[in-house]
C-alpha cells in the first residue's frame, strides 16, 4: 500500500495519456490488495465452528475403470462418425469362424482358444463375430453412406489366469467400408484414435500379422512409457483390410466394396492408462481397488 502511495505521487510527472493508464492500473491494484479473503474474517467470527476438522464427503459411487475407458473410446469413435452396436456374448460357429474365412479344420482356429457349449455355441473369443451380421445389414441397405460401426463386447478365451492373462476380456471392434478404405486410411483412423485416447502423439508402429479374415493383416504397437521412464512396444490393435471372402459371405461384391476392421483390447488400454499391473482385479469387485477410479 505504501508503495502504491509513493507511485501515486509520481503521477503528475507523466504525460496525460500515461497518467490515465497508470492511474487506472494503480486503482485496480489497490482494489485487489484491499480485498479480504474468507480466511481473514475468522478472527472476528463468534460462530462455534471448527474449520480445521476434515470435510464430510458425499457418498459417491464409482464406475468400473473398464466402463470409463470404454465410454471414452466410444466417444472418440462417435466423434469420428462411427455408430455403436453391442456384441453378443454367445454365438454360433458360423458367425464366429465360418463367415470370417476360417474353413472347418483351419489351423488358425486353434489360436483362438475358444470355449464351447454342449450345444456347440461359442462364448465369443473375438468381437469380429459381429462382422458378418453388420456387413449383411449394410449389404441390404442402400449403401449411400460409408459403413462405420464400432462393436464393444465381452470376450472369452481358454487361457489360464495370471497377472497379465484373463479368460474374460473386452474388445472394441471397428468396421469401415467405403470407397476410400485403404491401408493409409486404416492407419489414419487407428493413429487418430490412439493419439486422441492418450491425449498426445504417442509413438506407434505397424507390423504385419495374420488373421484369416483380413488381407493384409496389420498389428499396431504403441510405445508405452513405464513410470520409471523406460519404454516398451506393446501390441495394441490388430487390424487389416477385410478379406474378400468375408465381404462375399456377407453379400458384398469385393470388386465393388472394400473396407477395414480392427479390434482394440480394452483391458490393455485401461491397464496402460492407469499403469495397472494385475488384470485379475477387474473381475474381483474389491472396493479397495474400485474406489480409486
Amino acid at each position: 500500500m505504501d508503495e502504491l502511495a509513493k507511485l501515486l505521487k509520481e503521477l503528475p510527472n507523466l504525460s496525460p495519456a500515461e497518467k490515465k493508464a497508470t492511474g487506472l492500473r494503480i486503482k485496480a491494484l489497490k482494489a485487489e490488495l484491499s480485498k479480504t479473503s474468507p480466511q481473514d474474517v475468522k478472527s472476528d467470527s463468534k460462530v462455534d465452528v471448527d474449520e480445521t476438522l476434515p470435510g464430510i464427503k458425499p457418498n459417491l459411487g464409482t464406475l468400473h475403470p473398464i466402463t470409463q475407458m470404454k465410454e471414452l473410446a466410444e466417444d472418440i469413435f462417435l466423434n469420428m462418425g462411427f455408430r455403436i452396436v453391442e456384441a453378443v456374448e454367445v454365438d454360433n460357429d458360423y458367425n464366429h469362424f465360418t463367415a470370417l474365412n476360417f474353413p472347418e479344420g483351419h489351423p488358425a482356429r486353434d489360436s483362438w482358444d475358444t470355449f464351447k457349449t454342449t450345444e456347440d455355441f461359442l462364448p465369443i473369443a473375438h468381437t469380429s463375430t459381429m462382422q458378418n451380421r453388420i456387413l449383411k445389414e449394410y449389404a441390404k441397405s442402400d449403401k449411400s453412406n460409408n459403413l462405420r460401426v464400432i462393436i464393444p463386447g465381452k470376450c472369452f478365451r481358454y487361457e489360464a489366469t495370471d497377472a497379465v492373462h484373463e479368460h474374460t476380456f473386452y474388445q472394441i471392434e471397428g468396421i469401415y467400408v467405403g470407397a476410400d478404405a485403404s491401408l493409409a486410411t486404416l492407419i489414419g483412423v487407428l493413429a487418430t484414435f490412439v493419439n486422441t485416447y492418450y491425449g498426445y502423439k504417442i509413438p506407434y508402429k505397424i507390423q504385419p500379422t495374420y488373421f484369416p479374415f483380413v488381407e493384409p493383416g496389420l498389428e499396431m504397437l504403441v510405445q508405452h512409457t513405464r513410470p520409471d521412464g523406460s519404454k516398451k512396444w506393446l501390441e495394441l490393435i490388430p487390424s487389416g483390410m477385410i478379406h474378400p471372402n468375408v465381404l462375399k459371405e456377407a453379400d458384398l461384391d469385393p470388386l465393388k466394396y472394400k473396407g477395414f476392421a480392427w479390434a482394440i483390447g480394452l483391458d490393455r488400454l485401461v491397464m496402460l492408462k492407469y499403469g495397472l499391473s494385475d488384470i485379475r482385479e477387474f473381475h474381483k469387485g474389491d472396493l479397495r481397488f474400485l474406489k480409486q477410479f
Binding site: 462418425g81 454367445v90 489360464a160 505397424i206 504385419p208 495374420y210 498389428e219 478379406h243
Partner: protein, 786 residues
Amino acid sequence: MKISLNWLKDFVDIKISPSDLAEQVSLKLTEVEGFTDQSQKYDGIICVRIEELKRHPNSDHLWRVLVFDGVGEKHIVCGAQNLAVGQIVPLLTVGNKVPKTGETLKEAVIRGEKSEGMLCSARELDLGEDHSGIFILNDKIKPGTVFSEAFGLDDVVFEIENKALTHRGDCFSHLGIAREISAIAKTPLRERSNSSIRQFVNSSISINIENSKDCARYMAAKVTKVKISPAPEYVQQRLTACGMRPINNIVDFTNYVMLELGQPLHAFDLEKLSSNIGRGTMHRAPTLGVRKAHDDEILTTLDGNTHKLSTDNLVITSNNTPVAVAGVMGGASSEIDETTTEIIIEAANFDHFSIRRSSRTLGVRTEASMRYEKNLDPNLAELGLTRILELIKENGAGECEEIVDEYPSPTKPIKIDISSRFINERIGVEIDPKDVVTILNSLGLTTSQNKKGPEIVFGVTIPTFRKDLTIPEDLIEEIARIYGYQNITPQLPFRTLQPIRLTTSQEEERLVKTTLKELGYHEVYSYSFIGKALAKKAGLDAELMMEIVNPLSPELKYIRNDLFPGLLEKIALNSHYNDHFKLFEVGKELISRGDDNTPVERLTLVGGAYVKPDEDLEGAFRAVKGDLETLFSIVAHINPRIVGAGSPSPLRKLFVADPKLRANFGLKGNLILFKIYLDEVFRARHASPLQGKYDVSTTMPIIEDISFYVELTGKVGPVLEEIKKLSPLIKSVGVFDVYKEKTKKSIAVKITYQDDKTQLSDKEVAPVRNKVLTILTKAGFEVRKS
C-alpha cells in the same frame, strides 16, 4: 521358432546387427520376440583339463578337482561321478552366469573347501536335459579355450513368433526366413544348387496311396551301407541352437533338413520294416502305403507312447501294418539304432487338414506336424530328399540305391493378375511400378507387365512354395509390407457432416450407470461363467444354464442366467472390510433359447446394499427404494410409485435377502437386493414423452401433518396410495417420521393440498381431510390428536 544367424548366412549376406535385423523382420514379416547372443550366454566358461581328482575330506560323494585353465590351476569342488584325470570339461568361472538359469556364480566354500568355479552339466549349459554328469568335451581341445568357440556357440539365435506365419508354411525354415531377409534387405538369395536325384528314380519300392487328397506326393529313398554315428559337429551345434536334441547322424540329418528347408523327413529302419514279411525275405523291400487308420489299430510311437488309432489318423504302413502316424511321428518298431544298415527315407506331402485332425485327436504336436499343418509345397519334398541324400553322401553315412516318387498330379505355379490401380487404391499411396516389380521379384515371384490404358497390369507367377498367395489381395500384403507400412502416409477417410449419437438405449444405459454412481453405488464386473456350487449358494440350479464343454475349472462351467451370484460373491468379499456399501452390475443374463435354440441375452441390472446387523433395516430398505425411485424418475421419467416391494411386475424386484441366502454367503449384516431388466425400462421410457407440466403454480399449498398409530406389522403404503387417489386437491402425501414403540409404531405423514388455479381455503379442504381420516380409521390406524 528358433532361427540361427549363422545358418541364415548360408543363404543370404547379413551385414546389419542382430537387433537391426530383428527390428526389420518384425516390421516386415513377423514379430521377433528376442534373440540370444550365444557367446554372451556362455561368457566366462572356459575349457579346462582335469589334473588331479581327490575325495573331499569331509564328504564321501564330493570331489576336490584340480584343473588347468591354460594359465594356472584352480581348485573346484564337484559332486559329479563321471570325472577322470585328463578329461577336458567346461568350467564356469566365478562372477559369471549359469547359461540355463541366468544365476550368477559366487565363490563358494563347500564343506570347508574353497571352490573357484563350477564344472557344468549339459543341462546347466542349456544344451540338453542331461544332468547325470559333467559335459565331457573333446580331449583335443586346448585348456583355456573359450567354451563358446570350442563348441561353435558363437551364433545368434532369434526367437520368431509363429502365429503371424500360420499361412506361411514356407517360412518355417532357414531358407524361408533367408528369402524374406533377402527381400527386406535387398540382398540376393543364394539358393542351393540342386544336384538331381532323378537318376535314382526307380519303381522297385512300391507305394500305395489310398487317397491322393490326403497325400499329394510320397517320395522314398532306399539308402544302404548306412553307418550310424554322431552327426558332424556343425549339424549338432545348429540343431542344439534351434532347440533340437542331437541323436545320431541319420536322425539329425532329417531334422537338419527340416529346419533348413522346411520339409519334414522320416527315416525308417528297412530291416525292421521288412521284419513282418518273415525270415529269408529280409532284403526284399516291403510295400509302403498311406491310408486312414482303422478304428482298432494300435501304434507305439517313437516317444514310447502307445496310441489307439482311428480313421482320423493318417498312417504309413508297411505291408499294410501301421509303422508311423503320417506327418506326426514315426513308430517305435522301425526306429533307427546303432545296428541299422539300411534305411528308407520318407519325403512326403500330406494334406494340412488331415495332419491337423490326426495330431489333435492324438494330442501329439511335433515339429513335423506343425509344418504340415501349414500346407506345404509338394515340390519341397524333392528338395528335401535331395538335400539329405547330399548330407548322407558328404558324410559317408550311406549310399542311395533307389528312389520312388509317387506324385500323381504335380503342383504347378499359378498366375495372378493385378493392376497398378488396384494396388494404389488399396494401399492408399502411389507406388512406382518399378518398385512393385522389384518387391515381387525379390520374394521369388516373377512378373510380366501389360499396359491397359493408363493402368499397368502385372501378371504375377506364384512359385509353388507360396501356397498362401491365391488372390490379388494377397499380393497387396506382399507389396505393402516390403514397401514398408511406415512409408504409408496415414490419412483420414472422408465423411459427411451427418452427426452420430448413441442410440436411446445406449444413452440410457449410460444414464443408469451414472445415476447409480451418483447415488453411491460402485460398479462391479463379474465373470459370465459360474460353477454349480456358487449357483446353489444363490439358490439357483446350474443344470438349467448353458454348459461349457471345456471349462477352465468347475467354477467356470456354466454361463450365468442370473447376475445375482456374481454380485453376492462380491458383496461377501467386501463385507469383510466395510459395514455399509452399495454395489451394482449391468450385464447380460442368458435367459432362454430362441427359435433355433440360439441363446437370448437380456440386459440386466442387479444391485445390492449391505448394512451392518444393528442398522435399522426398514430405514435401509427405504433408502434403496428411494434410490430406485430416483433412478426411475431420472432415467425413464416413470412415476416412481410403480416401483416397490411386492410390485406386480416380475421385471423389477426389490427385496431383503433372507437369512438363508445371507448365511450361504457368510454375511453378518443385512442385505437389500434389486434386479431390473433394462430393456423393459428403456421401453417404458420410449412410451413416455418428456412433455409435461413444468409451470410453477402461483397458489399457496395447505400443508397438514397427521400422525397415527399402526400395528408393528401393519403396511402403510397401500393406504397412502389410496389417499393420494382420493382427490385431485391432494398434491402429495409424504412420510416424514416412523417411530417404533414396543407394541405399535407411530407414523407421521405430511399431506399437501393445492389447486393450481385457485387458492384453497380450509373450508374447501375440510371434506377431503375428513375422507382421509375415514380411510385411516377404516384401515385400523389410530389417528393421534394433534
